[in-house]
Amino acid sequence: MFIDFFYLLRAHELEVSVNEWMTLMEALSKGLHQNSLLGFYYLTRGILIKTEADFDKFDGVFLEYFENVKNLDAIPAEFYEWLHDPKEMKPYDPNEVDARTTYDLDRLREMLKERLEEQHARHDGGQYWVGTGGTSVLGHSGYAGTGILVGGEGGRRHALQVAAEREFRDFREDNTLDLRSFQMAFRRLRQYTQQEDGPRDQLNLEETIKETGKNAGFLSLQFERPRENAVKVLLLFDSGGSMRPYSRICSQLFQAVDQANHFKDLKIYYFHNCVYEELYKEPSLVQDSAVSTLSVLNQLGREYKVIFVGDASMALSELYRVGGAISYQHYNEETGLTWLQRIHARFDRTIWFNPIPREYWPYDYGADSIRIIGQTFPMEHLSAEGLARGLKSLIAAR
């Protein structure tokens, strides 16, 4: 049943498995769709689709497949009134019903169309009009072998109508790189180790047995520290003017990192285009919030994962010249590149995330500086995919 629908879903990259499909078949045989298209819609979506990001895609496929049923939408409201409160069914007469089970769908549609034009009142218990409790092939709560269900449970709000609203459009994954996908990516940044501090509250059975044995059978419990995430992060944000177009994505990245509570330590600093003698605690880069870059570097161990976020687009003098920093008040004694290389050498793992899509790197305004910085730091595009890859490289074994 509906096997085409199954393949249509799969053709639209909705990864419906055979198991789920069988579950749907079981549900249908139990009548959980309650004989309505709306019920069928919720049933299939609940069983087959497992993320709200796919709801919109599903709605699209559902519409595509069931669109030819849509003309039932045109049933006038008064028909539903006549069909309300189904009348009690007449005694079953097999002869009368069975004779009519051979109508095919086209014939039934034709009949429905005729009735819609000529019916002006409620009719129950009969065989001709759209009604309840009878043997008419049109209506509900009756005996017809095959027919078109009109009204009944869920009839007033049509499934195609729900699907047509496509209210989940916002959730489509290809469309957004939202906070959640950032968070998800950062959750992968975990490295478990035996911690050096923290309470010893996990029983080490092996050691306990060993120690108890040594203790001539007198119980000696041995505890150890549980494993915890040991990842420490140093996040450096470019807060310069050319980053403004990416402020939304950067602010989401910032929130994701800030809310991730699984890091052992997290330090966040800002810089303007390139790092020099000073880093800033505030994105506004005001002088009050400046700290010496060297003192920051000296406080942090090699194990800090360094994440740069910036467009790496700047004049080459900002990288190559003493005093070439973009900020007029600031005179740098050492070149920007020296500083970048110093940071790179100071830590085990570094990564640079660039909000400019990779394909533009060779042609963008900052093509030269992107290339030069890319020689020092591994660089990834700031997208869900690039982020996942980059973060993975931070913890992968070398």
């Binding site: 198991n19 549900a27 139990k30 959980l32 919720y42 497992k50 993320t51 709200e52 209210e167 119980l219």
Partner: protein, 283 residues
């Protein structure tokens, strides 16, 4: 057939109602996702109340292991007991304590089992429960006992989407996403909690609330539960409805972050030239 129809306190959308009943009929776990504060946890309570079945809650934390839900073998206690020659040490069963899942399987009557915030746990956590949720049974090697559900519990699982759940796990669930309630639905929810409210109060409150939610700058959007708290606060404080529009009394109930308070103040004060006041943000 057991059917859930909602309760007087808990307003269910039609689609959620269907999902719940589908899950019950197919005896599959129902996975509920949605923004915080859309009543995911309350759903299980409502189902339990409506169906008159006992509710077991398994609160998942970041340190929770799948094993904790099945049973815990209290080795330390047993070792201590053996040291002092306590009675019944040889009976391992005495030291097996069933977890929530175990309890739910053991129960003679059908129960509702809420596995709350499954995404808090480790990434592997859901995978470790596949068999148990599928077959509704597990084996305790220490005692050689198999705990099998006589009455398959109705399992409700909630997730805040902090982590992605594994596909194999998802395939076994019925999925439902609770969308944030629209105005109409919200009015029903408020009516369910407070009965008939002053219409102007309701109007003004909802207006301010949805205005706040639409602000892109907010780090943490206020949710349904915060709105309900806010209305409660406004009622207790005897705030005149007209004031809601001008000031935002008890803004702290809605907005939990300093930067959000500032953002709200900035957003609303533009062009209206109003200063910050004592009772909240004025604009």
């Amino acid at each position: 057939m057991t059917e859930f129809k909602g309760t007087s306190q808990y307003v269910v959308s039609e689609s959620l109602l269907r999902s719940v009943n589908i899950a019950i009929a197919l005896s599959k776990p129902l996975l509920i996702k949605g923004e915080p504060g859309t009543g995911k946890t309350m759903l299980a309570e409502a189902i339990s109340e409506a169906l008159g079945k006992k509710l077991l809650i398994w609160n998942v934390k970041s340190s929770t292991k799948a094993q904790d839900g099945l049973y815990v073998y209290d080795t330390v206690q047993r070792l201590y007991d053996s040291q002092f020659g306590g009675e019944g040490v040889s009976d391992v069963g005495r030291y097996i304590k069933l977890g929530k899942l175990g309890e739910a399987f053991r129960s003679e009557e059908q129960v509702i089992l809420l596995i709350d915030e499954i995404d808090k746990a480790d990434l592997e956590f859901p995978n470790d429960l596949l068999w148990e949720l599928d077959k509704m049974e597990f084996y305790i090697p220490e005692t050689g006992e198999t705990i099998k559900a006589e009455q398959r519990p109705i399992v409700i699982i909630t997730s805040n989407a902090e982590k992605e759940l594994p596909d194999a796990f998802l395939r076994r669930c019925i999925f439902h996403y609770i969308a944030f309630p629209d105005r109409e639905m919200m009015q029903q929810i408020i009516a369910a909690h407070f009965g008939a409210l002053d219409e102007i109060l309701l109007e003004e409150t909802l207006r301010a609330f949805y205005l706040l939610r639409e602000m892109p700058a907010l780090v943490k959007k206020p949710s349904t539960s915060e709105l309900l708290d806010w209305i409660q606060a406004l009622r207790i404080g005897g705030i005149q409805p007209e004031r809601i529009e001008k000031e935002l009394p008890f803004a702290g109930v809605l907005l939990k972050k300093t930067e959000d308070m500032e953002a709200a103040e900035y957003h609303f004060s533009r062009g209206k030239g109003v200063k910050s006041g004592k009772n909240g943000v004025r604009w």
